[in-house]
Amino acid sequence: MKPNFKLFATLSLLLVAGLILAACQPQTIIETVEVEVPGEEVIVEVPAEGADLDSIIPADGMIECQPLPEMAFDTTGETVASAPSVPVVASGASAPVASEAAQGGGVYRVGIFEDMTTTNFWAANGPDNTVWNSYIQSPQYLAAYNLSHQSLQWVPQAAAAEGPPPVQEGDVWTITIPLRDDITWSDGEQFTADDWAFTAQTVLDFGLISGGWTAWYDANLLVSIEAVDDFTAKLTFNDVPGLISQHNVWGAPILAEHYWAPVVAEAGAGLEGLEGDDLVAAQAEAQDILFAHQPDGEPFAGSYTLGQREPGAFVTNDPYASYYGAGQTVTIYENGSYQSVELDGTTFTAYGEPEGEPTLEVVEGPFFDSVLYTIYSSQDAALLALKNGDIDFVLNPLGLQRGLLDQVQGDENISIIENGVNGFRYMSFNVRREPMNYCSFRQAVAVLIDKEFVTGTILQGVAFPLYSYVPEANGAWYKDDVPKLGFGLDREQRVELAKEILRQDGFSWEGGVEPVFNVDAGSVDPGGRLLLPDGTPVPNLNLLSPPPSYDPLRSTFAVWIESWLNEFGIPATANLIGFNVSIPIIFTEQDFDMYILGWSLGQDPDYLRDFFHSEQAVEDGNNAGGYSNPEFDAAADAIFTCQTFDECKEISDQLQLTLSTETPYVLLFDTGIIEAYRSAGIDFPYTSSLSGMQWTGNPGGPAMVNVAKVK
Amino acid sequence: MTEPLLQVENLTMHYTTRAGELSAVDNVSFSLKKGEALGLVGESGCGKTSVALTVLKLLPENGYIKEGKIIVNGKDIVPYTEQEMRKVRWGEISMVFQAAMNALNPVYRVGDQIIEALEEHQPQMTNKEMKQKVTELFELVGLESALMDRFPHEFSGGMRQRAVIAMALSCGPDMIIADEPTTALDVIVQDSLLKEMREFQDQLGMAMIYISHDVGVIAEVSDRVGVMYAGRLAEMGTAEEIFHDPIHPYTMALMSSFPSTVGEKTDLVLLPGEPPDLLNPPTGCRFHPRCPYATDVCKEEQPEFKEHSPGHLAACWHPRGEQS
């Protein structure tokens, strides 16, 4: 059959060659438009293919923003917008639930998806800190203060009173916090200030910077914590600690000194008297030794102690019988007042005197005889177990997959809740490069992006659009009235507004042909390429984004943004590359024009400084886009020194306003978190909370979860 | 006259193929007496191996006995079930296969394969007795008894054939069918083997059916000879008669194709053509397309296989001596 074989071979080769050719086609985004302009001859210089884009870094730095031009339509976003599909969680706004006296007993069964990596709390916040460790371990440890249910206000836990303001003592600032004298560790030992001092000292001595350590005990700010006496802790800072910095150390977990001291002493034996690089190297070794310790009989002071752990299968938490807060009733009132009443009558009131109706009342447990965390490796299996009554709640930082909702909807034994999440997904500009250094350019791009269209029409409400750097779900800090570029405008209006913003700043289009919205066709007729004020054409821009396999929502946005930019005369290519691949390109090499990623946010808006301070614009910093604004820097620094909530809120608002105008990021969207629980078996005293019920570890812990009331 | 050991009457066997029915054995009848050696000779594809397989009912799935009787020791085995046949096979009739190297399973020791047959037919024997028997058999066929623990690939061709013969003798059958027993061997080994086989036969008083396309081999060992062509018996008689006095034109041509090394030079009789396609065999006498003596009646009617002189049968309209 020789002739047939030859034919087959030839065809195969041709096919392969054809495939290769097709793949190697250069992407043509926009072609230079030849336009006959009577009189003048327009000469266009296109940057050569593969030209060194670094040479495009402008000498002028960032170009300032101009005020938005006046248009025939309203540009401030007053028009009716599509409501977000996620119920808004305002702080404290929830129907009052009167919790009856605890029924208790039985096992609270939770499904989780990954095993703990370690029971050693130091290591759990080490380089490999996972959310699963936090879920299980958070209820075991106390901190001086804690966030209240639902309203997320800071209230005392191990502390005996509200946090006092800092006091300057010479070069340093101190805060003296009284601690409760009625807390005992689960082995009977007294909980004292020594424990807190020891924990802080260990973190500082060992240079622990990973996980939560870097926020809780910030070596740049905190000098030490001393035990003035058994129940008084004195915190010393090398600079005035703002409210937010105080929050960080207030919420820092405390470990038992009498258990850990010998372990720490042994691990840290080699740290004496070292400095500089030697110290750093020795610290790394000391950390390894400390992390490697297997805790055996560690005492706990939180609402739960570690029960049994079977790697790969399950973990149990046992309720701590002498938990100081067992049985206390917490009430939050309409006016924001917080009051807790313990079983022995001890009452604590904060944030004003109780006035009006209570918006939330919670009686704390622990109610169950134990909490059983069972490891399921797949959501489907966990859901089946939920339906079958094998578990009561599924813990998942991403919430329930939407596709699985059908499985549980309509099941009368299961309730579904949806909450907002503290995070956002965004597109960032590399402002070190032209034309991204032009504020007008960034604003124009923001105007062109129709977030409502993508989230509403394309993604069918799975995500909701964002305009504020503090998400709506974070009620205390949320600022609604920021400039919402393009909000409520249709495509024609967006194009016109964007053009006007750019024209105002000196931009033009090749051949004088501008993109125009064609009403009959319902689409934009592209014009020539966008030209910078000095006449050079805008170079091909790349937009990095995670691929559909990693996040279909972001990749959808990327594809639409690419198309809107191209039809406008801004040549752009969406590069959907693997998440792991993109990280070094963005944060280390900083070789990009625009990228789309996301951030999970903390409770306080200090992250605005982390993202946008010019200090962070270096290699491996958060500010990969290079945003640099001295005024912003000064205000961002101030957010760490403001002392009162109102002061800090004002600064935060100012920062948000600046960012919303300057647009170093175009905020895109976020999704809510959906959770399902077995209402036939358990009861939550409330179901609306920032990021959902997953953090039934903190505040209150699974301590607040109760057995379902008998019907 | 004693009862014949084996009596085959009008045996017809067909293969069912996609192209149609293949008439492999057509109306074959012969008998075999105790101690007698019958030789079946013919070209490749003439049906002699098929006859052997049919007698043992070792047909493949698409082969079936269309009609006829096979009477072994007085019982017709054609209606026997597989279960019943298992006793007949090897216990009453055994077989020595063509190309014996393939008849032995390469992964078992030779001795064990013989013991396997013994276990089946003589289950009352102990291990020791069976080993003893194998040793005896090996000695009988001229093999060292140590060889019984060796694997088939360690034997030479001749040794393998002896081993297979030993296996065939193991259960004391009344008759052995030897299908091309020496075809795969060189002439020297062939010679000694044939002599030895003749000897066991006499020694043990067994009947044998030799099947071969080699006329010389058949001449050496057979008492009686049957010549087959295209699935049918053309002629049958004593070895003397067949070789020196053939009456069927085919036999005549066959014998002359094997000229004597002594005596006068004679011309070889060349038969034009090839053996017929058994899917569509010729009408009448299957030899007629090639027969120099064929006439119209040969085309139309099948000649009866009948005696032309005592013990000498042929199926021909124009046997020698009756030709015009």
Partner: protein, 383 residues
């Protein structure tokens, strides 16, 4: 034979090192490194990120890290896993490997056993509804979308019918307060299986010496003795209940895995058998009056099993790799998931550690297969 073994061992060692080196460089060649995870915590300063990366040794060039890893490996130290910091790699493997091995080796044995039986019967009884049904059924199951099929099995047998648990390898409530850890029971199970197999093998070999009549009852008695021995051992340790719990959780995944993969060995056996059936020794065996079953098993299948045995040995070796899909759907976190997450996160010590075992077992399986082949087919002898 000795010379052959020696040469092969040398080959194995060289291949092994080439393999490990190739993996190291391949995983490392992925853009970025494990340090990527530190970018998701915005509170870390750039210096801190670099510090954390340096602590893991990621700031050093590839060659330096490779040499370091190789030298500690040669000293028997597999290093510390990045993603399970600070657990040593060997610790993580020791935790996950026993359950992976128990599940996947059992499943392999069951799958091959049934595949072989089915293939043997199919080749023997050609044609008919059974052949069509088994082939179509087997191939459909072989090509079915595994995660979906596994879920359906769980949904039908565990959720709807309640005959089996919904995944997991133990029932947590049964183990609260257990006298020993799960891995202990798994390891005991592995040893029981190992010893029982060796005893069974010896039994089958020695039974061959007996007469035919004695063989069958002797085999059954022998197997009963072995089973009784195992039972007594387990009752003695008092862990019988726990072992049963594990076995109950093993059942559904094994059935699922066996259903999905038996068609492979079934078709292989069938094809191999069809070839051996044409051999003359099968006809000769028939002529000897041997029973159908004996012909099928002793003659045809015995020769047909050679490629199947090789395939089986390899499958056993790769049992330690587990299977991500099965582990995920049935909630048996094992080596498959570990390897996948480690490879995705660029946790090089973990990937290499896991593959050290895979490589060792696979290369050993090669050697074992070669030796086994020589044992099964006397025609093969190595110079």
């Amino acid at each position: 034979m000795r010379g052959y073994l020696f040469k092969r061992l040398a080959q194995i060692v060289i291949t092994f090192f080439l393999f490990l080196s190739a993996i190291f460089f391949l995983v490392d060649a992925q853009p970025g490194d494990y340090g990527n995870v530190f970018y998701s915590n915005p509170r870390l300063t750039p210096e801190q990120r670099q510090q954390l990366k340096a602590n893991l040794g990621l700031d050093q060039p590839t060659w330096v890290r490779y040499t370091k890893w190789m030298s500690s490996f040669l000293q028997g130290d597999l290093g510390i896993s990045f993603s399970n910091y600070p657990r040593p790699v060997i610790d993580v493997i020791a935790e996950r490997a026993p359950r992976t091995i128990v599940l996947f080796m059992s499943a392999t044995v069951v799958s091959f056993y049934f595949g072989f039986m089915a293939g043997k019967l199919l080749a023997w009884n050609r044609g008919g509804l059974v052949e069509y049904a088994s082939t179509i059924g087997g191939v459909s199951l072989y090509t079915v979308f595994t995660p979906w099929f596994a879920l359906i099995m769980i949904w039908v047998f565990a959720f709807r019918l309640g005959w089996f648990p919904i995944g997991k390898f133990i029932e947590p409530t049964a183990w609260i307060g257990a006298p020993t850890e799960v891995n202990d029971v798994f390891i005991r199970l592995i040893f029981t299986a190992l010893i029982a197999s060796v005893l069974l093998f010896t039994l089958l070999v020695s039974v061959g010496r007996l007469n035919t009549n004695q063989r069958r009852p002797a085999t059954w008695i022998g197997m009963a003795v072995i089973a009784a021995g195992a039972l007594i051992y387990w009752l003695n340790t008092g862990l019988g209940v726990y072992a049963l719990d594990i076995l109950w959780h093993l059942t559904l995944p094994i059935i699922t895995l066996a259903l999905i993969s038996f068609a492979g060995s079934m078709l292989l056996t069938r094809n191999s058998m069809l070839e051996t059936l044409r051999e003359d020794y099968v006809l000769a065996a028939r002529a000897k009056g041997i029973s159908e079953k004996a012909i099928r098993d002793r003659h045809a299948a015995r020769n047909a099993m050679l490629p199947v045995v090789t395939s089986f040995v390899f499958s056993l070796a790769f049992a330690i790799d587990g299977g991500v899909i099965t582990e995920t759907v049935f909630s048996w976190p094992g080596m498959g998931r570990t390897l996948l997450t480690a490879a995705n996160a660029e946790d090089i010590p973990m990937v290499l550690g896991a593959l050290v075992f895979t490589g060792t077992l696979a290369l050993t399986a090669h050697l074992v297969a070669d030796i086994l082949y020589a044992y099964l087919d006397p025609r093969i002898r190595y110079a």
